[in-house]
């Protein structure tokens, strides 16, 4: 089965405001035919002042641990309790070694020591300074999953969640419950005995997806709810719409999420998903809903094209508009491409649903040729109605010296002409009549009369 993978980590609203870095990290990739994804969440407490590095090293440790085995072991061996326990021990060991290397290369700064002086008691500070507690500042959680030809497996230390989407599209939470994670407390790589709460699970099936996220996302939803499932579903749909592992749109979506989420924490998602061609077939109801959505988007796009083309038509021959014209043409080209994709998708779905394909012409242009005739007729009617003929005649004479009755008669005569609404003389006549009506109304009001007065 063909799989893709993706990952993304984005800084949370809280850290952005306080100037802290993103303490999440994530990674994905392939090792000898095994596809993996991992997320890690550095602890936010002041005591874990290098947790962003800890999270990065956690992801690195996973990759290095997997590398050792995936080339040497047969796939079926990877999906056993024994192997996964060994893998977890190796991850912890590699992480600790990497942290100590980092500490050796970058000893505590004065600022870091001062910060800890205010936080720790004497003994704790001493243990930190001499390196015995060097792991603590790097504390991080870890969630990792991988798929191979025989099935899949996942390991988890600390909070966050791993969701298994089966081939018949059921969302499961396969990881055993933690004994330590409660409220804001979480198990961590920096604990003295991380193996106590380092959990794992595996299966010999081929899931549609394995989706991982840190608690910045998990805690924004009710536990194991349809909400988080739908969120991860959206992530899956968008993250794997391209071939690349990191999608700019996924990053943007997570940025949106962090803005909306009341939690404000850093967020990470990663996943291993079946390639689009192999995704489960949707039901007819889903397909119909999706068809309606795509069709609505197609109509909107065609409408946008039509509107822009009308605009372009209006600009033809108008000097000094070349930049605007160019911009409109660009919009039209872009929208035509989008419309093509949408039409193809809508046609494909229509065929599946047994519906006729979308018609070629979706947007009906208004028939403007009738407009002027209708206007001529309605103006004639309005002149007849408001105000009364005799009063209007008298006032018309007072206002501009013209004979309004004559004007009205001219109008009526014109109405009988076959194409009375279309020539310049008629247009000019209409303009005069309109001006006459507006002046009459102003005068009427100044005289303190209403329309019903005589």
């Amino acid at each position: 089965m063909e799989y893709l993978s993706f990952h993304s980590s984005r800084i949370g609203k809280t850290h952005l405001l306080s100037g802290l870095p993103c303490q999440d990290h994530s990674a994905d990739g392939t090792l000898n035919g095994i596809r993996y994804a991992v997320v890690a969440d550095g602890h936010g407490h002041r005591r874990h002042f290098r947790s962003q590095t800890g999270a990065r090293l956690a992801c690195k440790a996973v990759v290095n641990a997997l590398k050792v085995y995936v080339e040497a072991k047969e796939p079926e061996v990877l999906l056993t309790d024994e192997f996964l326990n060994v893998l977890k021990q190796d991850i912890c060991k590699i992480w600790q070694d990497e942290v100590l290397l980092n500490f050796a290369e970058f000893p505590w700064t004065d600022a870091e020591v001062d910060e800890m002086r205010s936080l720790l008691d004497e003994e704790e500070l001493e243990r930190l300074l001499d390196g015995r507690d060097a792991l603590i500042p790097y504390g991080s959680t870890l969630c990792m999953a991988f798929v191979c030809s025989e099935g899949w497996a996942a390991v988890q230390l600390g909070d966050g969640c791993i969701v298994h989407v089966s081939s018949d599209s059921v969302y499961n939470w396969p990881m055993p419950e933690s004994v330590l994670n409660q409220g804001n407390r979480t198990a961590s790589l920096c604990m003295q005995e991380p193996m106590r709460d380092f959990r794992h699970c595996f299966g010999k099936d081929h899931p549609a997806a394995l989706l991982l996220c840190t608690d910045g996302i998990e805690k924004s939803f009710p536990i194991q709810s349809a909400g988080i499932a739908s969120f991860l579903h959206w992530v899956w749909k968008n993250a794997c719409s391209t071939e690349s592992n990191r999608s700019d749109e996924l990053d943007r979506m997570l940025d949106t999420f962090t803005q909306r989420s009341a939690i404000g924490d850093d967020v990470s998602v990663a996943g291993i998903v079946t390639a689009p061609a192999l995704q489960p077939k949707p039901s007819e109801a889903q397909l119909k809903k999706e068809f309606e959505r795509v069709f609505a988007q197609l109509v909107e796009t065609e409408n946008t094209i039509s509107f822009n083309m009308r605009r372009l038509e209006r600009l033809r021959g108008v000097a000094g508009q070349s930049e605007l014209e160019a911009s409109i043409r660009l919009t039209i080209d872009k929208k035509r491409q989008t419309a093509g994709d949408l039409r193809a998708a809508a046609t494909r779905m229509a065929v599946e649903l047994g519906l006729p394909p979308p018609p070629e012409v979706l947007i009906q242009e208004p028939d403007r040729s009738k407009d002027s005739v209708h206007r001529a007729e309605s103006h004639t009617q309005q002149i007849a109605e408001t105000p009364t003929d005799s009063d209007a005649t008298e006032l018309g004479q007072k206002v501009d010296g013209s004979d309004a009755r004559t004007t009205k008669q001219e109008c009526e005569t014109e109405e009988s002409e076959p194409n009375g609404g279309h020539n310049d003389e008629v247009l000019e006549m209409r303009t005069r009549i309109n001006g006459w009506i507006e002046r009459v109304r102003l005068l009427w009001r100044k005289l303190g009369k209403t329309d019903t007065d005589n």
Partner: protein
């Protein structure tokens, strides 16, 4: 479940499971194969301009409207928001009414070209009827395109309507429209002839709130007022957490008090 978790869940729910199917986790991937961008999932704000293009708007007045519209498009594009997708609809009305855009056009695809005044008189009934026709799910508020903020409607006119016997009924019918009730509505009375309480009250009937009726003469003030109302009101509309409707009540104004140019009796008594 905390309140924050609940509201965020509600925000995503209709996105994927359409409300009716929210308990089923077996419904999964849509099969369209069409890439769904982040922009598609933003909540939609329709900004609808109803512009009087009767003969008396010719010259400086329509020029200021055009100038304002151009600036508004630029400003709104500059403020591109990850939470909201703005779409623009323009209705021109004089004796007849016509939507220049048969559906609201996404801001990024909207090329502003000049609005022209026409040599006709001013009628409101057709404008109200047309607005009523389009403020519907089947028309401007198609749920297949996404969720919507309450629309923002800006009505710009310079004079009393000629159709005094027709427009009250049309306005009353419009006021029954659910989306109209929810919408934020502002009106601008342009020019000296419109500077009276009668016009003010008429437009207040449309907006529902006197504070939302403003006067502008035909100079730069008109342009500035149109820009200010559109940009500020759109910020207010989109600043609420997504739950399908604006947190402000329809008609809550961005202004503190009625315009004294139009409602002088309130200030002179």
């Amino acid at each position: 479940m905390s309140e924050s978790q609940d509201s965020l869940w509600q925000g995503w729910e209709s996105e994927f499971f359409g409300g009716a199917d929210k308990d089923s986790l077996s419904k999964t991937v849509p099969a369209s194969g069409v890439r769904s961008s982040v922009a598609d999932n933003r909540q939609i704000l329709n900004i609808l301009f109803m512009i009087d293009v009767s003969g008396s708007m010719r010259g400086e007045r329509i020029a200021q409207v055009n100038y304002a519209m151009e600036n508004i498009i630029k400003e709104l594009r500059r403020r591109d928001d990850v939470n909201s997708a703005i779409k623009i609809g323009i209705m021109e009305f004089s004796d007849e009414a016509e939507w220049v855009t048969s559906q609201p056009v996404p801001l990024e695809d909207f090329p502003f070209t000049q609005i022209e005044a026409k040599p006709w008189i001013t009628c409101y009934a057709k404008a109200f009827e047309l607005l009523n026709q389009k403020l519907r799910r089947e028309e401007f508020l198609n749920p297949n395109l996404g969720e919507y903020f309450a629309p923002l409607i800006l009505f710009i006119t310079d004079g009393e309507p000629v159709d005094v016997s027709d427009y009250p009924a049309a306005l009353n019918k419009l006021k029954q429209n659910g989306w109209f009730k929810k919408s934020s509505r502002y009106a601008i009375a342009v020019g000296e002839e419109s500077r009276n309480e009668e016009i003010g009250m008429l437009l207040a009937e449309f907006t529902g709130v006197r504070e939302n009726v403003r006067y502008a003469d035909e100079g730069d003030a008109l342009c500035s007022l149109i820009e200010f109302i559109t940009v500020r009101a759109s910020e207010v509309q989109t600043s609420m957490v997504s739950s399908g409707e604006s947190g402000k009540k329809a008609g809550d104004s961005i202004f503190d008090k009625p315009d004294p140019s139009l409602f002088s009796s309130m200030f002179n008594s």
